[in-house]
Symmetry: C2
Subunit: 386 residues, 2 copies
């Protein structure tokens, strides 16, 4: 592995997605250690990384199953040797079922989730016609965030019974995602969100078991709740994805430090508007994404925090204050003018992302770098689409 | 061409990007007619469509040159037979210049833009070493929107002279993009933005000519100013891209009608939260993009307006009120509860995008449909990345 850090001879055409493999390994180790201490297994969510190179590292010391957000991810990781796959978006009746049948027939151990009787009926019929048996988890709503059956609702047992009654379906248990944890504003609130996610999921599992229904799997997770949980009693697996890279939203939540963020976009200064206190760069929203996840946090980071090309804190308090498709505008957070000539045209800068999932999705590969360098040592492909 | 509109037998796995080719042709005809009436040539901006199929149609009746926002677009369209290419992002010193030299050596008629002396020096040196001559436009700032030299600034002549003095550069003229037109709030304001864009660009051209410098090209454009301009006197070409597809931001500006929007995302209802008045779909921000361009307009359209799968107005006033990576939450604009059972699990819906450039970028192909149908008749690839 050789590195190149000469600013006048960059190997990369900007904008370029950088992945600091040292920060990645450190983030993976932190989650691994935390879950091990609490006796939980990890089923990494691959929706952030969408890369076999990253996910292979995340699976070290774990049972080997993954979580996916699309059937395209299921397809890709199955073709790359991963069999145990949880598709963690409620299945839609229609053409997706044809894809599901095809994956299962080819040998994928694909588990689906659902929260309603229409989905049960349609999957049961398609699976029966295909002569396969599909493992099912019931999606729970533990915090009013989006989908799922409210814990305590009579629908839970009704839908569970419908799944259990269908020969072509196998009721495997319950799952949830405490997405509202992203709105927590303190470590205490995160610990409480984690406890609520666990307790409500365990309660639902007990409700099923009390009704004589099987519930071997109790699957929960989000990066904030996984890292702030103080117990995983009653939980069979934890899902998380963003923790691999971390991002400004996670830093704003107190889930990580700025220094832990492994993902960034390398950009070039292409001009100045000195009297407005602006640097113009070639890193617009196409490279950074339109995600403004920190806009509702106490510290709004604009379209991203500016670091030096090597990843160190930049001397002025600079953020990307606005973005067009292929232009980023960098300014001081305070809005004050500064000496733009400290950043001559051609200067390379690194932008830390609001939301790693969104920023990574704008790129088709990772330029893998070592800590303190922006010369890529490897290129790791990533997938996109459906 | 055959169409399929049976809701239980969709050819597409959702979420899927739809392009209504009839609306596209109508949008292209409108711009063509408008510019012809005013005697202007069009240099379509390909950054929205990034597709040869679309751009070939946009070029009908035009000189044949295009505008690109990345060198990847330049590469792709050059390989697909287009020679005259304006790269409309200020060139950065560094590895992009190697790419530029390669394209020009292979026969691309690539024109670069810049607004500063550092860029002049670096391009001149690289071009000289490569034994090529690079056509240059000076980027003007006509509205304080982002990059460019302010019209009237002494920098304009200074940078122009530096370009003209370099044997390896050819001063071709001036260009600007009136990006602030996106913040206009009335037809009159749009007409004024268009007039300002034209008059300031013509003034800059006259400033160059008065200084004895060549300025054959005066290139302006944005979809709003192109369509609201009442004169193109003194202008050699108009650039625009979003007009091909239109979107909710353009509709909010009064530049088009909702019915003109050619681009949409087909999604499936995957669940309900009846007591909250929510439909849950599989169209999240990964499919719609994170763009919230209408959030600063008088009518905030959330993450998009809901239409029937066939493209008609949906019976309730529904928009996508929030989005996770692969989940969209649809609700009434008023927030009132409605009969979610009107949209059973499995229902297909079409979501109109805030910003066509951002939404299209989340997909690798267009499912081309005819007006009133969602059964694709063709698939057109599109490119992404840098």
């Amino acid at each position: 592995m050789s590195t190149s850090t000469h600013p006048n001879d960059p190997a990369l055409e900007t904008p370029a997605l950088l992945l600091d493999v040292d920060a990645l390994q450190s983030n993976l180790a932190r989650m691994r250690t935390h879950l091990k201490q609490l006796g939980a297994n990890l089923r990494p969510h691959v929706k952030t990384a969408k890369s076999t190179e990253v996910v292979r590292r995340a699976l070290e010391g774990q049972p080997g199953g993954i979580t996916v957000s699309t059937l395209k991810e299921a397809e890709y990781f199955f073709e790359n040797g991963i069999r145990d796959i949880l598709y963690a978006v409620g299945i839609a009746p229609g053409s997706k079922l044809t894809h599901v049948v095809d994956l299962i027939r080819r040998g994928a151990g694909l588990t689906l989730i659902l929260d309603n009787a229409v989905a049960v009926d349609s999957i049961a019929k398609v699976a029966k016609a295909a002569g396969i048996r599909v493992p099912i988890l019931l999606e729970l709503d533990v915090d009013g965030h989006r989908a799922g059956i409210a814990v305590g609702s009579p629908d839970l047992i009704a839908v569970a019974r419908a799944v259990h009654a269908a020969d072509s379906l196998e009721l495997r248990g319950v799952m949830t995602h405490a997405g509202a944890s992203y709105e927590c504003r303190s470590a205490q609130a995160l610990r409480e969100a984690a406890a609520q996610e666990r307790l409500r999921s365990v309660a639902a599992a007990e409700q099923l078991r009390a009704a004589g229904l099987p519930c071997p799997v109790v699957s929960i997770g989000s990066t904030p709740t996984a890292l702030f949980a103080e117990s995983f009693a009653g939980i069979s697996e934890v899902r998380a994805g963003v923790y691999m890279f971390q991002d400004l939203v996670m830093a704003g939540l107190g889930v990580c430090r700025i220094e832990d963020i492994a993902l960034s976009v390398l950009v070039s200064v292409i001009g100045h508007q000195a009297e407005r206190g602006w640097l113009i760069t070639d890193g617009g929203w196409m490279a950074l994404s339109r995600d403004r996840g920190t806009s509702t946090q106490p510290l709004d980071q604009g379209y991203g925090v500016v670091r030096t090309a090597e990843g160190a804190a930049a001397p002025d308090d600079l953020i990307v204050v606005s973005a067009n498709q292929e232009h980023g505008i960098i300014a001081q957070r305070s809005g004050a003018r500064f000496d733009v000539e400290r950043y001559p045209v051609g200067t390379l800068l690194r932008i830390l992302p609001n939301h790693a999932c969104a920023t990574a999705a704008q790129h088709d590969h990772y330029n893998v770098v070592r800590a303190g360098s922006y010369g890529p040592v490897e290129s790791w492909p990533r997938i996109s689409g459906w």
